[in-house]
Symmetry: C2
Subunit: 157 residues, 2 copies
DNA sequence: TCTTGACCTCAAGTCGGCTTGAAGTAGCAC
DNA sequence: GTGCTACTTCAAGCCGACTTGAGGTCAAGA
């Protein structure tokens, strides 16, 4: 009997039992059976949980992740979606890099008040400019949690 | 009279009126007066809104942003906090970069099923490993929306 | 003067991803 | 057989950042 008790999964995956039940409700995982009331899982659930964690880090919502799991237990990932997400990540990375550099500049800036620092004002202006037009509250294509004001290319490498 | 009507602020900042009222409730902005019922703003509110947008993109929660605005209208930013946030962004950027590369690999991988791709399995294993120990549900120091499992360096270039 | 329509207030709802609490049950040690 | 304890179910709550809806007010144009 190589099945894992839910307690074991909790221990090995570091995911709380409540989360496992929630994932089950959402169709992300399925226990292979019960011992008494207790859920028993196939060891492959650990791999699946890792995949879920990975996808979550990438910004996929649970609903979308659920669709990746075929009913037969295998996974089927849409390669186009992956590339699209990779592109999204590229943009997000660019934004965050700009932001990080801005923060470092402002931290080092000798201007008495930040508002007197020309670079800071420039960053603000750029942010405002990037923020105004269109204003897609949520990215139109794929779902991505933090609302991302577009454009990074202006100051991209 | 150089005051801006709320409608004008909505138009120029691209921020909905409901959000402006919400920000006011949170102490992030303050109208200089009213014309009838309508809020009137000092033009500097546009700069302030840009700053708020910038801070939000950096992952600062509104509460924290509010503390940046001194009662006299000036801003006072804690340089240490900025550097800390910059460090956070560095880590986040590293993670996302790994993820992006992984996605591209998987999309290009010729293995019939993703689970048969050794690289994919390696990534999963690393994710799982990074995910288990400690498990700070929310970053202990500063607040950052998506819960971020640490470590990226394991498979960094 | 009267209408229009954009603003106003206040309370409640939304969204995603969980967590928490009350009340119940069953495997295992004694 | 009796407890203990860790599980179970189900409903409700929480977080942050807003949005929505009902019902009210008022400046400006016809």
């Amino acid at each position: 009997m190589t099945e894992l008790d839910i307690a074991e999964v909790v221990r090995r995956a570091g995911v709380p039992a409540s989360t496992l039940r929630y994932y089950e409700e959402k169709g992300l995982i399925t226990p292979v059976g019960r011992r008494g009331l207790r859920r028993q899982y196939d060891p492959s659930v650990l791999e699946r949980l890792a995949l879920i964690a990975l996808a979550r880090t990438a910004g996929f919502p649970l609903d979308e992740i659920a669709r990746v799991f075929a009913p037969d237990g295998t996974i089927r990932i849409d390669r186009e979606a992956l590339l699209a997400k990779a592109g999204e990540l590229d943009r997000r990375i660019g934004e965050l890099a700009v932001l990080r550099d801005s923060l470092r500049h402002v931290a080092a800036c000798p201007a008495p008040s930040h508002m007197e620092c020309p670079t800071f004002r420039h960053i603000l202006a750029a942010t405002a400019a990037a923020d105004v037009p269109g204003r897609p509250k949520r990215a139109p294509g794929a779902a991505w949690n933090p609302s991302i004001p577009s454009s990074a290319n202006e100051y991209a490498p």
